[in-house]
């Protein structure tokens, strides 16, 4: 069956695959024919992800990507990749005046420094085939919008977004493309546990989205797969807002 979006024959690395967008992405990649390597901190959750994927020689790697030694060991073990998607991310709401170095370090380390280090090591150790594609899960926050108390998240996502553009330029000569997806509020466990809003407030919040719903992990996963696939070989360095029209207003 004709499908330019197919991942058949590709090996894809998904970081942050124990839950949420990363888990959904790993599942969808497997359904579209990819061999998938997944990374996460929790081995139970990773094997659960594997059990939800289409059968294949997929592998999971338990790794805390904020730990440089673990990262080196991981990268050495990995095969040559055709694609890498980073879905690692944490969110913390903290008003500007209460910011502190500890919180700042923690969020920036996880959301920006660790994925950047992973990417750097993958390139350095020649783990990308020619014509590879990399997608970072950035955010609306810090690139298109912000919210009250969003400084930590916005700062870290603005950083990863800027890195992606630089990497896109630096790696274009090798045929490696680098893009970002920028989701609005996606209904994941992490998004809902990290919020101080009540259920009613969350319902009301959906009304701010012209399409009248929050995103589903699959909305993001399928955009990432478009950017990982050979259907997008002339697209690099872009942001793709995925937000139900939120930024229109």
């Amino acid at each position: 069956m004709y499908n330019p979006y197919s991942l058949e024959g590709k090996t894809i690395l998904v970081a942050g695959a124990s839950s949420g967008i990363g888990r959904e992405l790993a599942i969808e990649c497997s359904k579209l024919g990819a061999l998938v390597h997944i990374i996460g901190r929790n081995s139970d959750k990773l094997s659960e992800t594997i059990s939800l994927m289409n059968e294949g020689k997929h592998e999971f790697h338990v790794c805390d990507i904020t730990n440089d030694e673990e990262l080196d060991m991981l990268v050495d073990k990995l095969p040559v990749l055709d694609g890498f998607a980073n879905c690692v991310g944490v969110a913390k709401v903290m008003l500007m005046k209460f910011l502190n170095k500890k919180a700042l370090n923690e969020i920036i380390e996880t959301n920006a420094v660790a994925p950047i280090s992973l990417m750097q090591k993958l390139v350095r150790k020649k783990k990308f085939s020619k014509k590879s594609s990399v997608v970072f899960t950035s955010s609306l926050s810090g690139v298109y919008t912000v919210h009250y108390g969003d400084a930590l998240n916005a700062t870290s996502k603005g950083a990863i977004n800027a890195f992606a553009k630089s990497a896109a330029l630096d790696l274009a000569a090798q045929g490696i493309r680098v893009n970002c997806v920028n989701p609005g509020v996606v209904a994941t466990d992490a998004a809902f546990s990290g919020t101080s809003l009540t259920k009613e407030e969350m319902e009301a919040k959906q009304q701010y989205f012209p399409l009248k719903r929050f995103g589903q992990p699959k909305d993001i996963a399928l955009a990432i797969i478009y950017l990982l696939s050979d259907a997008s070989t002339w697209i690099t360095g872009v942001n793709m807002p995925i937000d139900g029209g939120y930024t229109l207003l």
Partner: protein, 250 residues
């Protein structure tokens, strides 16, 4: 075979289908399982595209979209659709001081008024199913950058991208999504048609400005259209997607 990007069961209207990007969108949509309604000015070339479509159930309706009565006729004949791909467009390089109201009307008429009025008429006549998707071939030009002599073209494409955002907002209530793709130079005849706007040597030089070191090909754009037309993008509306080999990075 699992394929969330499939257009199976969908009817898609494709304008500008007699050549270039529009022709590629029509062909690729048919390959992805859609029934395609193609329109264009040149009947012979439209027929040529029609012959290249895969599968069955396709329709061709010749129309000049710079003419409002032809838009109305097209919409009357058009079946209900799940998607619209706007590609009709012309390019002309004219420095600001040589702009005339005739050329301005021609360019903005074809590139902006045409697609805007077609969209309006399709909506008014209830020809777009709920959960439908509309995609415009806008441009890098006028939205992300411009070049010398491109001001009218940029104005027409800026208008399209602006309209698309307004339409995205208003039509969201009906579940209809509206997005733009913003290509840089795609190797089509649009440059040749208008009397060798750019020479081959200039083209080779230009390639060096693209980090990915090539110009675009029509499928680079048509596959973006299909992504937006498909159910893989049901939470995406009102965006501009640059397709430019990294051009705007620098």
């Amino acid at each position: 075979m699992y394929n969330p990007y499939s257009l199976h069961g969908k009817t898609i209207l494709v304008t500008g289908a007699s050549s270039g990007i529009g022709q590629s969108v029509a062909i690729e949509c048919s390959k992805m399982g859609a029934s395609v309604v193609i329109t264009g000015r040149n009947q012979d070339r439209l027929q040529e595209t029609f012959g290249m479509l895969e599968g069955s159930g396709h329709v061709q309706i010749p129309a000049d979209l710079s003419n409002y009565s032809e838009i109305q006729k097209l919409v009357e004949q058009c079946p209900k659709v799940d998607g619209v791909s706007h590609n009709a467009g012309i390019a002309k390089i004219i420095p600001v001081k040589f702009i005339s109201s005739e050329t301005l009307e021609e360019i903005v008429g074809t590139n902006a008024f045409g697609p805007i009025l077609l969209t309006q008429t399709l909506i008014r006549k209830k020809k777009i199913n709920s959960n439908g998707s509309i995609v415009f071939t806008s441009s890098l030009s006028g939205v992300y950058c411009v070049h010398y002599g491109e001001s009218m073209y940029a104005a027409s494409k800026g208008a399209v991208s602006g309209f698309a955002k307004g339409a995205a907002l208003e039509l969201a209530a009906q579940g209809i999504r509206v997005n733009c793709v913003n290509p840089s130079i795609i190797q089509t005849n649009i440059f040749k048609n208008e009397g060798d706007i750019i020479s081959d040597e200039q083209m080779q030089e230009k390639i060096q400005n693209y980090p990915l070191k090539r110009l675009g090909v029509t499928t680079d754009v048509s596959w973006a259209h299909i992504f937006f037309l498909s159910d893989a993008s049901t939470w995406i509306t009102g965006v501009d997607l640059p397709i430019d080999g990294g051009y705007i990075l620098i």
